[in-house]
Symmetry: C2
Subunit: 229 residues, 2 copies
DNA sequence: GTACTTGATGTGGTTGGACCACACGCCTAG
DNA sequence: CTAGGCGTGTGGTCCAACCACATCAAGTAC
């Protein structure tokens, strides 16, 4: 057992037992090193790993923002992991898109019309109507789809959706340049978004799922996947 | 930008550009530190992160097994990340099981009867028939379900399935103790497994998906979820 | 009395150097 | 030709020191 793994186990134990909860602060690195009878180096390596997994956040200085505190950002961990494995060409982009369709369709079919996340999605749609710049539109589009996923009320699906999005963010951004007529595409996206929202609010989960699948696959098809770009 | 993140970027760049591929070896820590003009500590922190994400594997000593080599184990990264966030009570086990049902049902509906993974699944079923010990049976059961997921041919879904399984492994193991009659349960599981495999080989994806969903949910229901255990 | 300056304190961030355990492969003694 | 030992290179660990930063308290000027 390597030393930093010992520290990892200790911290995970503190988390499991509830002695270290969300928002809680880890002892200072030097203090923790002395407590566990290991070097500060090993403590830092463990903290780095947990930081990469979205469990901790390290802040320098003094005061409430400083120190190493417990956060909960599953998306960060899954996202960078997926991105890295895409970089090694061992997770095809095709599979990521396919998985996203699967998760988001399911989320749409399960989304509750009364969910606050769905209200947020509706607000985002309104903002997209009065939005001219492509970049802003795309940012709102991302948030709309994430809100849609949240509306299903499954934290794991939400986290995975967010991480999938993050993993192919650069890729999707490049695709936008392939579109022949952005204004026409944006108009179509707006219409489809409204259709999805309408299907959910009328409790037609099956139709919502189908619309989401068509929406995503249609975009990637138009933006060049499969057409040589 | 913190120093170790610089190293992370460099390595990710090498991976993206293909100059560092699966099985390739990273320069020695001391060498890399000199190349990038950073301390060995920072290099090591970056390597730790990538190791936790299943991208690198560090080995001491000399020879082919030594050094820091590129691997591809997306499951490890996603699994430990999910497990940690379950520990912080921010990913309910219920959501994990629900997601597993979703992914595995989809995989069953998409599984190709000619897939090598499906043949592997069939072999595992035969072994389970001639298996007496509970522990061995459960180990084979895990491998059967993972093989089922692989048969869909989507690397992302496979990785996520594996990581979900890993994240709740301890939890599921504890559940087994709640079963009133293990032999009866094992017999039922065997029958259901065969039914799933039969549905796939007869190209009845819809039925396979439904059987998988019933199979998983039935097990958790019997083992105590929702019945106070 | 109030407002500003200044220093003490504590945090993570980074570095260089040192030593250890390990595994391989050469090289020598038999 | 064989068997053992030693050199070399790898990651693993630890230490001591220094830096940058943020806060807070004491002190000072007004």
């Amino acid at each position: 057992m390597r030393t930093h793994q010992l520290v990892l186990q200790w911290i995970e134990g503190q988390l499991s037992s509830g002695q270290l909860a969300l928002g809680g602060r880890l002892p200072a690195e030097r203090t923790l090193a002395e407590q566990l009878q290991v070097s500060r180096t090993s403590v830092r390596e463990a903290i780095r790993v947990l930081e990469a997994m979205g469990v901790l956040r390290a802040g320098v200085g003094s005061g409430p923002e400083a120190g190493t505190v417990v956060i909960a950002d599953p998306t960060a961990a899954l996202g960078s992991a997926l991105r890295l494995h895409v970089a090694t060409s061992h997770l095809p982009v095709k599979d990521i898109v396919e998985t996203r369709v699967l998760l988001e369709s399911w989320a749409a079919s399960r989304a509750s019309p009364e969910s606050p996340a769905l209200a947020e999605a509706a607000r985002l749609l309104e903002q997209m109507d009065t939005c001219a710049e492509t970049e802003t539109f795309l940012a709102l589009d991302v948030r709309f789809h994430l809100a849609l996923a949240d509306a299903a009320g499954n934290a794991v699906v939400s986290a995975m959706m967010g991480s999938l999005r993050e993993a192919i963010q650069d890729y999707a951004g490049r695709l936008t340049g392939n579109l022949p007529d952005w204004d026409a595409t944006a108009a179509r996206l707006r219409t489809e978004h409204r259709g999805i929202l309408a299907a959910i609010t009328t409790h037609d989960g099956g139709r919502a799922a189908q619309l989401v699948a068509d929406h995503i696959e249609g975009y990637y098809a138009e933006a060049g996947v499969g057409s040589g770009a």
